[in-house]
């Protein structure tokens, strides 16, 4: 009371105050909609997503995603780098599954160059692509369930993801953004003890999954928050260019690893999990089952990977020559110098190559003018397209379900904003 001016009387409001109007308007109040911003700094948006929500009480009338807060001009940057250097940009798109992005890009360039990659390198690529799929789904599982109010699972999944990052670190030297796949093969060979490390993980993984499932499988609170929420139909998915687990949760077994096999995926046995309901719960189970399939593929890949062997192409116009050759061989020295200073050229043409990333179709459209740099470097990122369905999924739902929906689309803002 003391803070009010001497003229102001307690309980008196200016006549145009919204509180006064609200009190007098009575039933009319329900006809007004309210616009509020969710994000861009909101923990449940998994980054810097802003959603402009139009609300009628608790009901969502419209939800418009506003993006671009993380835009870094990846495409412009990549067009200024050499073909091999541009690979480093792909890591940073979807930074939870960098190897998937690497894979799509190097496959695209290799297709344009008609370059053969040794089988061993292809198997190692498969192993790491599946490893990052599990790592990415672990983050999704932890954060998604945390958004629903269950805190503890997040700690477990992040702890276990650390084991996967350790394998990546032991192989590439870094935990995130490894750029391990290169045009022509891999950056370097596997380290000593790699097979044991991966085997330990493969042995532990089913035990982790069992523990996670104990936490959510029969949990009525989680099931109730997912069931019938954020429903999309199959035709809506087609119309909105939605791929990945969201599409598979509507009953479509579209998986590029099966449909358009790349990197020797045709040699691996695995299932494509699908559900038909198209709601958040269906997507939840599709992703959980995908982790088991990835585990299966990793087991097969590890069997196929010999401890020693070629890890990159022997084409010296593309891959760097080994050290001992450089010091003793003039030809090798020239190749090394040319590759490091100006890179290799890619034949004129255009190509589109996609892989099945954890979030859907991760593709690159590349145009070469025959020079050492990409003329056009276009990334078709899955989250960018999948996020377009947010208004569709949120309309007529509750505010609390918006959080569920964002988590269940499994967006990656680096992927959306490029």
């Amino acid at each position: 009371m003391a803070s009010l001016g001497p003229e102001a009387k307690a309980g008196e409001m200016p006549p145009d105050s919204p509180f006064v109007r609200g009190a007098e308007a009575g039933p009319e109040l329900s006809e007004e909609t309210m616009v509020i911003n969710l994000g861009p700094q909101h923990p449940s948006t998994h980054g810097v997503l802003r959603v402009r929500l139009t609300l009628d009480g608790e009901r969502v009338v419209d939800a418009e995603p506003v993006i671009g807060y993380l835009h870094t001009g990846f495409e412009k940057t990549a067009e200024s780098l050499t073909w091999q250097q541009a690979n480093t940009v792909t890591d940073r798109l979807d930074y939870l599954s960098p190897m998937s992005n690497n894979l799509a890009y190097v496959l695209a360039v290799e297709k344009l160059m008609n370059l053969e990659v040794p089988k061993r390198a292809q198997y190692i690529r498969v192993l790491f692509a599946e490893l990052t799929r599990i790592a990415s789904h672990l983050v999704w599982l932890g954060t998604h369930v945390m958004d629903l109010g269950a805190m503890s699972l997040f700690f477990y999944t992040m702890r276990e993801r650390e084991v996967l990052l350790d394998i990546i670190e032991a192989t590439t030297g870094v935990r995130m953004n490894p750029s391990y796949f290169r045009v022509g093969g891999l950056a370097y060979d596997l380290p000593d003890g790699f097979h044991e490390k991966v085997r330990d993980f493969l042995k532990e993984f089913p035990r982790w999954m069992k523990m996670y499932r104990n936490l959510f499988e029969d949990n009525p609170l989680i099931l109730e928050r997912l069931q019938g929420v954020a429903v999309v139909s199959r035709e809506q998915c087609y119309a909105y260019s939605v791929t990945g687990p969201i599409l598979r949760a509507t009953g479509v077994a579209r998986d590029l690893r099966k449909d358009e096999p790349y990197s020797s995926y045709e040699e691996f046995e695995f299932e494509v999990p699908t559900r038909t309901e198209g709601d958040a719960l269906a997507r939840f189970w599709v992703r959980v089952e995908e982790m088991y399939e990835s585990h299966k593929i990793m087991e097969q890949a590890l069997e196929k990977i010999t401890p020693h062997g070629p890890y990159t192409t022997s084409d010296r116009k593309v891959a760097l020559p080994p050290r001992d050759e450089i010091y003793g061989n003039m030809e090798a020295l020239i190749h090394q110098f040319k590759l490091v200073t100006e890179g290799f050229s890619v034949p004129r043409g255009e190509v589109y190559q996609a892989v099945e990333g954890p979030r859907g179709e991760m593709g690159y459209y590349l145009v070469s003018d025959g020079g050492p740099r990409p003329y056009r470097w276009r990334a078709r990122t899955p989250s960018f397209y999948n996020l377009q369905t947010l208004p569709l999924m949120c309309r007529d739902g509750l505010v609390a379900d918006v959080i569920t929906t964002i988590g269940s689309i499994d967006i990656m803002l680096g992927d959306v904003d490029k």
């Binding site: 412009k76 344009l112 909105y240 459209y365 078709r380 490029k418």
Partner: protein
């Protein structure tokens, strides 16, 4: 390689003289005049069943004229076939938006408008998507500098 190898033949029969085949290493590709975009898109979606527009990409061929190329990557869910359709569009020209045909083309068209300045006629909300609303210029153009802040 492609799951639908005769698609270009059928397009040529349906749109005589409008389809120019382009050699590509990965999928059937054709170039069409920009005025035919809407008709070809409707035909591909409704009569052929290419119900997914996987991507819309813009390419700047500066200093060639017409300056831009719009590249549509289409997908047939049942045949699991891919198709690439391209058209050339000039800097001062407009090309019909395919968002009314494939709603998924909404954001990529806005992106091409924002970063390259390609204008899509009939787009429901052709505004900048990544850059700030008051940004000047289109960063992905070949004559736009890669780096550098002017200090006066």
């Amino acid at each position: 390689m492609s799951a639908d190898p005769e698609i270009l033949d059928r397009l040529e029969t349906r749109f005589p003289g409008a389809i120019t085949r382009v050699e590509a290493v990965d999928q059937p590709t054709c170039l069409i005049p920009k005025d035919a975009v809407r008709a070809v898109a409707l035909y591909l979606r409704d009569e052929e069943g290419y119900r997914m527009c996987i991507d819309v990409a813009g390419v700047d061929y500066h200093p060639d004229r017409p300056r831009f190329e719009v590249v549509y990557h289409l997908y047939h869910p049942e045949r699991r076939a891919r198709l690439r359709v391209k058209c050339r569009v000039g800097e001062e020209e407009e090309v019909a938006s395919v968002t009314p045909i494939w709603p998924g083309a909404d954001w990529p068209e806005r992106e091409a408008y924002d970063l390259l300045g390609i204008r899509f006629a009939g787009h429901p909300n052709l505004t900048r998507i990544y850059m700030p609303d008051d940004w000047e210029g289109h960063p992905l153009r070949k004559d736009y500098p890669l780096r550098g802040t002017r200090i006066d």
